[in-house]
């Protein structure tokens, strides 16, 4: 299949994804399960990465500030901007695409090769909607909160690293974080918009690859790899497009 055929089939799949669920009660249960499975389970990893990345961003900024003309609060400012604009929405999404994407593709792919999806279809269940809609919606709604948690922890990491190493004071760092917020606050809207779009990408693309798996265990593994690669590439492309549309 060429790229255009994949896109066409993906769009057709989305029509079934966003159709009305058969039973609201079943959908609700699956929705909350997916919040736990995809979103809540990702928080420890996100927290760990965010604290250390925030620490590294601030330390690298501090170590590269050789000009006496640059005020010290620039460290806090750059840490905040890097975290809000790129690290928390994009890098965290890429990492979660690796973790969640392979999980989703292998889960749905295994269901395909073991005929569980055929079983759903024969019962009259819209298998695409049943399997994918709760995952996609749960992630799109709650992933922005994960992004916010990441932002807070990244800034906290920057503060811990700088203060404990004596490179800057708490006051300077906090002043930097607050600097120019009235003109830069739209960055938060940009970041959260990105996180919603990336949440869709990192669940819908692996679902697609999993659903159309053909063959056996080997193909499930291949689908999982393809899903992670494709969702990472699409996240980067979408990142560029959204930046062009919102920031420029």
């Amino acid at each position: 299949m060429n790229l255009f055929e994949h896109i066409g089939r993906f769009v057709m799949m989305l029509r079934s994804v966003f159709s009305k669920p058969e039973k609201a009660k079943v959908f609700r249960k699956r929705f909350f399960n997916e919040i736990d499975y995809i979103v809540i389970n990702s928080i420890p990893l996100v927290a760990f990465l965010s604290v250390f990345m925030g620490a590294v961003i601030s330390l690298q900024t501090a170590s590269n500030m050789s000009s006496p003309l640059l005020p010290e609060y620039t460290i806090g400012y750059i840490t905040r901007q890097s975290t809000i604009l790129e690290f928390s929405p994009t890098i965290i999404s890429l990492i979660i695409a690796g973790k969640v994407g392979s999980n989703i593709a292998s889960e749905i792919g295994t269901m395909r090769v073991t005929e569980q999806i055929d079983a759903l279809e024969i019962m009259g269940v819209n298998s695409i909607g049943y399997l994918m809609l709760p995952k996609i919606l749960a992630t799109m709604i709650f992933f922005p909160f994960v992004t916010i948690i990441s932002m807070v922890l990244s800034l906290l990491g920057g503060w811990i690293a700088g203060v404990q190493s004596g490179l800057y004071s708490t006051e300077t760092y906090v002043y930097g974080i607050q600097a120019f917020w009235n003109v830069d606050s739209h960055g938060l809207y940009y970041a959260l918009t990105k996180s919603v779009v990336f949440a869709f990408i990192l669940t819908a693309i692996p679902s697609y690859y999993g659903y159309y798996t053909r063959g056996g265990a080997l193909e499930v593994g291949r689908s999982s790899t393809k899903a992670v690669v494709a969702s990472s590439v699409v996240i980067l492309l979408a990142n560029y497009i959204l930046t062009q549309l919102i920031l420029i």
């Binding site: 295994t110 569980q116 279809e121 009259g124």
Partner: protein, 253 residues
């Protein structure tokens, strides 16, 4: 009754089914047999709508399934129970949850009513006290029986079984065959079984269709298949020397 009328099916340039027609009546065991790769599974998937037919009709009690859209088909699908080759139980659900699944999706039963119905179906297939197990914790034979329990949970009018004996020992195979037959007679279901298990053919084949090279090659009962002189059927059913000897003895007696 399920009717298949002049069904043709191709995948790309390869035609798999050629003008297949058959009638499957309720209350008897309808078997589709044939060697691997001859089109019997494709025919079964066309009948249940997992593949679309290129030409021809699939008719469920006068209702043209092949001409229906997805929504219209849902009504018929709720009347279908299917047992898959690998059982296709949902990994993440327990035994009882698997049987309750179609009830949960398509009925307004309370939790207690669903549990009662699922327990009844599990009892009917002789699964007792295993409600909380996951499918991975059950043996192959148990998984098949749970699959049957799930298939009959909605009181289906049509039951499809895709190679119900595959991977099972001969004794368990007979148990599964007999169970499907009992349920078919008891509930007057239209049952279609895809198999290449010769024990099943001889034991429960009330009506047998032999598919060869994508065509309906032969049709008859388990009594008629013993005496048939159709070369392809004989070479398929009596492939081993033991079966050949057995056939000669049966004919001579």
């Amino acid at each position: 009754m399920v009717e298949v009328k002049n069904v043709n099916k191709s995948f790309g340039d390869t035609q798999v089914l050629f003008d297949v027609s058959a009638k499957f009546e309720p209350g008897r065991m309808n078997l589709i047999i044939g060697a691997s790769g001859q089109g019997k599974s494709v025919l079964a998937k066309c009948i249940v709508g997992l593949h679309e037919v290129d030409q021809g009709q699939i008719i469920y009690d006068g209702r043209d399934f092949s001409a229906m859209n997805r929504t219209e088909r849902t009504v018929i699908r709720k009347e279908i129970g299917m047992l898959f080759q690998g059982s296709a139980l949902f990994d993440s659900l327990t035994v009882i949850e698997n049987v309750m699944f179609p009830l949960r999706m398509f009925t307004e039963m309370t939790e207690a009513e669903m549990r009662e119905r699922a327990s009844f179906c599990l009892n009917r297939v002789n699964i007792v006290g295993k409600d909380g197990l996951l499918p991975a914790e059950c043996s192959g034979g148990m998984q098949k029986r749970i699959g049957i329990a799930r298939a009959i949970a909605m009181n289906p009018k049509y039951l499809f079984c895709d190679e119900p004996n595959s991977g099972l020992d001969p004794k368990t195979s007979i148990v599964i065959d007999n169970l499907i037959r009992e349920l078919t007679y008891e509930y007057k279901m239209t049952t279609i079984v895809i198999t290449h298990d010769m024990n099943s053919v001889m034991e429960v084949g009330d009506h047998i269709i032999f598919i060869n090279q994508g065509r309906k090659w032969w049709e008859g009962t388990n009594k008629e298949i013993i005496k048939t002189d159709n070369e392809e059927v004989v070479s398929f059913v009596y492939a081993s020397s033991f079966m050949k000897t057995l056939r000669e003895k049966l004919i001579n007696s």
